[in-house]
Symmetry: C2
């Protein structure tokens, strides 16, 4: 379970959603603006109060360690669990996390402070053994692992049975790109090409395009353009300026560039 960004009050939302806190082992912080970061220290404190013993990894811009440590020092509330900071300051994409099923890379963004999006890429799974086929070709169980990894099978007579005759391809690996906050920046397109789901900020509508440029945010239509250029599966919009009452316009304007758009909604669960 990954947590991406942690604005003020995140721990309250997590509790409302009945998320088991100890399952959060990796937190990715895009940048050190308050709405993405000010809830982190409170969450760490709550982890401590709950008696957490599991390690916590935090990936975020350089400086994040200093400010969290200072707050822990001032409140004399050092954690009993291990807190690892992975401070980022690279202007190029880099691999920051990897385990047996997923890789996470930074997506360099352009905003008022040093900012990264994050690209989550599921690794290709193993091929699935077709039970009837392996029986038919008398494949011994000790060869199953090789089959799952894509190798062909050579039987006792020296005949080669193609892997594709014995297994089915794995589920297509899922990928998710999280891009907030950023000005319209087609440089990211190469990196997020073909992701299944793109979250892209759309703080403004076209009527405030100048303001988007000035504050290094994006409009819904610009987010749609990125989605279209990147040929993503779906586009999720978020980070709406509170000035807009009617959020439907975000869909309409993004739709000028890209069809499959929906709005992120607080407290909603999305199944991939």
């Amino acid at each position: 379970m990954f947590l991406i960004d942690c604005g003020e009050g995140t721990q309250i939302r997590l509790r409302e959603e009945k998320i088991k806190f100890s399952r959060i082992k990796n937190i990715f912080i895009s940048h050190l603006h308050g709405d993405h970061f000010y809830g982190l220290i409170g969450l760490i404190n709550t982890f401590k109060l709950l008696g957490r013993s599991v390690d916590l990894n935090i990936y975020g811009p350089i400086g994040i360690k200093e400010v969290i440590k200072l707050q822990l020092k001032l409140s004399n509330s050092w954690t009993d669990f291990r807190l690892y900071f992975h401070e980022l300051n690279n202007s190029k994409a880099e691999l920051v996390y990897e385990d047996s099923i997923v890789k996470v890379k930074t997506i360099p963004l352009i905003h008022r402070v040093y900012t990264n999006g994050f690209l989550f890429q599921e690794k290709a799974g193993l091929r699935k053994i077709e039970t009837e086929k392996v029986k038919l070709y008398n494949v011994p169980i000790c060869d199953y692992e090789n089959l799952k990894n894509g190798k062909d099978f050579i039987n006792e007579k020296g005949q080669t049975i193609k892997n594709s005759d014995l297994t089915l391809p794995p589920k297509k690996p899922f990928s998710y790109a999280f891009c907030s906050d950023t000005v319209f920046n087609p440089q990211m397109v190469n990196q997020i090409k073909n992701v299944d789901l793109l979250y892209h900020e759309s703080t403004f509508l076209n009527e405030h395009k100048d303001l988007a440029t000035k504050t290094l945010h994006s409009t819904a239509e610009q987010a749609g353009k990125i989605a279209s250029l990147s040929n993503v599966g779906k586009l999720m919009l978020g980070h709406f300026s509170t000035r807009y009452r009617d959020k439907k316009m975000f869909i309409q304007e993004a739709n000028k560039q890209f069809d499959n758009v929906f709005l992120a909604k607080e407290g909603e669960t999305y199944k991939f």
Copy 2:
């Protein structure tokens, strides 16, 4: 309008209560534990986003300036309004704020980190002129100010008319003592004697008295004892441990020592 302590999410509550943010000019922070302090940086940021120009004064333990400044630096979001830090490190009570109607003093508390409560004392108001009496004694208007300030009136014949024959006493000045967090500490009694309202923390019930001593918190009965020793008007209890579902026990246990007790409730408005 004063804000006392500022835990995570305070700005959300203030918005729910429709508090006009610009009216908050003085914020008093008792100590740097998260539930009393982590909402401050977010509130300052929101003030900035709202275009605040009014000065903001912050009274709190030494270190508060460093941590707020570091966060403003990392997010490159320096305020456009003036931010004054009044850092406290005195172990004795001191006057920290004064204007024409109120004085605020620290109340040194004993907790796991350096902590102060705050004593708000309304200044004595002016005496009220009795319109019929001043007519009766032919007091000229230019003498009214003296009467309000308690002086007797000497008429043209040199006769002294006592102030009490011409005016009514001012409303009794109101006083409020905020004491959180603290272990049971009768040393504070002298300072808070006869206050109209005492807020005293009561994290625990008697069954966890040992835990209160260990964590430097108080039980409801101990809070009642302080209220009784201090001869306060009313006792407001708060800061309840989440382990207790039924809050009525806090009243019952405090009532062993003091009658006029009520529980602080989130989002409630109390008229003094």
